[in-house]
């Protein structure tokens, strides 16, 4: 294993920022590894998955590189009032990492994206915004921010919502994952394979169901939904779903298990 804290200068953010890169122990000369971009939740950062899941073992088991970015509390989008985290994480960081790591492939068929909670929304948003970069999405506990009830009541939560997305309805904007999913159908571009999962005890289960129902109305997408009845919005669920998503990618023939 190799675990790397990578401090880069971002043109999008106009500052330096950290991310974590995890590589398997054995890498052949001139090998181009598959790579999974793994997003954190609202209160996490580029260390979250490293602390809460057996990342080194998974990296060796599936012979895959993991990149864990940090976007603070930005939900992985270009903020309405704030920094352009969406462009940073979806466009700039991949090009930095692909240029920096001779051993990581930049081929679409070898790049996958996954995350939970805000990062579940975020990985949908990134992959549907940049569909040429990622071939598969693993979104866990992932609702569409457009479906979240919003009341401009001056609470901390509503102030943060305005900073992120503005005060308006998001359904017909590029902040909405269903809106983005429809756009890709209209543009007739290659669409990422979607693996979506939620815990049966997740307080936002109904938002996940809205997303599920919408994708099931879009036969253009290769869409799979998974639910684990006894788990909620918690690491036990996200760890298990990361395993299942990796297994799913094996079945699809994208990666192989050692």
């Amino acid at each position: 294993m190799a675990v790397m804290n990578v401090n880069v200068f971002s043109m999008s953010l106009k500052r330096t920022i950290d991310c974590t890169v995890i590589l398997p122990q054995q890498i052949a000369n001139d090998e181009k590894l598959s790579c999974m971009w793994l997003y954190h939740g609202s209160s996490g950062n580029h260390k979250a998955w490293l602390y809460h899941a057996p990342m080194q073992e998974l990296s060796d088991q599936y012979h895959i590189a993991f990149v864990l970015p940090n976007v603070n509390e930005s939900c992985f989008v270009d903020m309405n009032i704030g920094d352009s985290y969406g462009r940073y994480v979806g466009r700039e960081l991949p090009s930095i990492i692909w240029n920096m790591f001779a051993c990581i492939s930049k081929e679409r068929e070898k790049n996958f994206i996954a995350g939970f909670s805000n990062g579940g929304y975020g990985c949908f948003h990134t992959a549907l915004t940049y569909p040429k970069k990622y071939c598969a999405i693993g979104a866990f506990s992932a609702g569409d921010k457009a479906d979240a009830v919003f009341e401009n009541d001056n609470s901390a939560k509503s102030i943060q919502r305005i900073r992120l997305f503005g005060a308006g309805d998001l359904h017909d904007t590029d902040y909405s994952i269903i809106h983005l999913a429809h756009s890709l159908i209209r543009e007739n571009v290659e669409k990422p394979v979607v693996y979506h999962a939620c815990g049966g005890k997740d307080p936002w289960l109904s938002m996940n169901h809205i997303v599920r129902d919408a994708f099931q109305q879009m036969p253009e997408y290769d869409y799979t939904y998974d639910e684990i009845a006894h788990l909620g919005h918690e690491w036990e669920f996200w760890r298990e779903e990361l395993n299942r998503f990796l297994q799913f990618l094996c079945k699809k023939g994208y990666i192989t298990e050692a």
């Binding site: 294993m1 190799a2 675990v3 790397m4 804290n5 990578v6 401090n7 880069v8 200068f9 590589l23 122990q25 890498i27 000369n29 090998e31 930095i96 240029n99 920096m100 790591f101 001779a102 051993c103």
Partner: protein
Amino acid sequence: MAWLTIEFQSETLHMPVMLDVLIPQGRGGYRTLYLLHGAGGDHASWLLKTQLADFVEGKNLAVVMPSGDNRCYVDNIHGKDYFQYVAHELIEQCETWFPLSKDKQDRFIAGMSMGGYGAFYAAFQEYNQYAKVFSYSGLLDILQRYDHPQGLDLFPVFGSRQQLLDGNFDLFHQATDNQEYFQKSQEGVTRFYIFCGLQDVRIDMSSQMYAHLQTLGYDVSYETAEGGHKWDYWNQCIARTIAIISEKKEAK
């Protein structure tokens, strides 16, 4: 420029090791400087104590800084194989991970004090590996230090005095033994740089090594400046080294 702090499992040392890397955010093919610290330091020393990051900014150069754990960067008689690690595994790993040039002419090694010893040791052993090697206030006369260890326990590293001699750890002997690979007239031969501060109490080690290598026909230069066995002097050394490495590239 990006700064990486890396932890990985060294198969040579049978333990996880740390290193720091500075690398351009460009398109690859970088020249690489392997930069060794002295006794008492580790992978973080150069970044903490010097303006290295400023000097490297905008240059097409990666800098790799491993930890030497006070073990002199040699295969220890009573311990681990630090030479194998620094001169083989570390380079193989870095050249697999990152888009570094694999050309000898683009690979460099430098170090201060114990790191100067390690850099010269690696260069003598691997004559096909480094374009240039730099010693700053180097511990170039290891026998003298073995006899006057000043708190540094060198027995685990070199064994007995006789083992140190038999193991060919003495750089003066190595220079003589490997003379044929380092003749100035040869194309692409490794170039040696010896820097030392005029107030350094062990400056004789540097001046004697310079005289020795010159006599043997090596491509060697010697530079001194005001300064002691101190970081402010090594800060000048690393600035000078990066200037030397960079000017060669631009002349191409």
